[in-house]
């Protein structure tokens, strides 16, 4: 059985690796369309991490919303704002080296802090079911839940207006 545990552990690290690779590609690739596809890879990787962490509901929501929703939006925008011809315009600005150093410093800081903090780990790892999330959403978090609904409506209207008013201007 140890073999199986080892395999599953390796599997988890492979997922981590693929996710990080996807993320790196997403932030460095010059072709923005490829970057978007890499983002999809990252998102699916994160969803897989959720599945590994026994947060299946979140994983499914992640795929449904991010991959099915946000990714489509991003790609649509890429398509609408990029002329098919120019695909590989340099997409990074001139501050990448200082930023890279800064980001690495931050990562170092994070790693140190994670190492230093005495985490109070529970003896039994928690598993959250979708039913619990649902009940929590309509009891403890009912107010933020409703607020989110309001925000979504506002955003719906705002987006429609943003997209629409311009058409009017173009026509007139």
């Amino acid at each position: 059985m140890e073999v199986l545990t080892a395999i599953s552990k390796v599997g988890i690290y492979v997922i981590f690796g693929v996710t990080l690779l996807g993320a790196m590609m997403a932030v460095t690739l010059r072709n923005i369309f490829h970057a978007a596809l890499s983002l999809a890879l990252t998102l699916i990787g994160v969803a897989a991490v959720f599945f590994v962490l026994r947060a299946e509901f979140l994983g499914a929501v992640q795929i449904l919303l991010y991959v099915g929703g946000i990714m489509i939006l991003v790609i649509f925008t890429v398509m609408l704002t990029t002329r098919i011809g120019d695909r590989t315009i340099p997409t990074s600005n001139h501050q990448q080296w200082p930023v890279l150093i800064g980001a690495l410093l931050l990562l170092l800081y994070f790693v140190r802090m994670i190492g230093k903090t005495p985490w109070s780990i529970k003896s039994e790892l928690a598993v959250v079911s979708a039913v619990q999330i649902g009940k929590s959403l309509v009891s403890t978090f009912i107010f933020p839940f409703e607020l989110t609904a309001v925000i979504l409506v506002a955003i719906l209207i705002g987006t429609v207006i943003l997209a629409k008013s311009d058409e009017g201007e173009e026509k007139s």
């Binding site: 552990k9 988890i12 690290y13 981590f16 990080l20 993320a23 997403a26 932030v27 460095t28 923005i32 978007a36 983002l39 994160v46 991490v49 959720f50 962490l53 947060a55 979140l58 929501v61 992640q62 919303l65 946000i70 939006l73 991003v74 925008t77 704002t81 997409t91 600005n93 501050q95 930023v99 890279l100 800064g102 980001a103 690495l104 931050l106 990562l107 994070f110 790693v111 994670i114 985490w119 780990i121 529970k122 790892l125 928690a126 598993v127 959250v128 619990q132 999330i133 959403l137 403890t140 978090f141 989110t148 925000i151 979504l152 955003i155 705002g158 943003l162 997209a163 311009d166 173009e170």
Partner: protein, 102 residues
Amino acid sequence: MIPLHHILFFSSTLFCIGLFGALSRRHVVGILISVEIMLNAANVNLVAFSRWTGLIPVNAQVFAIFIITLAAAAAAVALAIVLTIYRNRKTIYTNEIDLLKW
């Protein structure tokens, strides 16, 4: 199961990658992509803490759901704005959209 540290290392690396992207990208959509990566890193953290240390594990996941929802909403608005900018200025490179200066 792997220890909590490793997941936290993973999420902080993911976060730093996203940060790097957000600061170094020139393309507005690229910045947005990086921001989404950062949000995802935060979500991974929340879920990990919910599993390992949370007193009420549900809360962290509910927060993650709120983050996903609002990220989706924010993406919708951001992309609508990007489209508007593109229509008006015919560019989506941040160093060309600099009307905010003095």
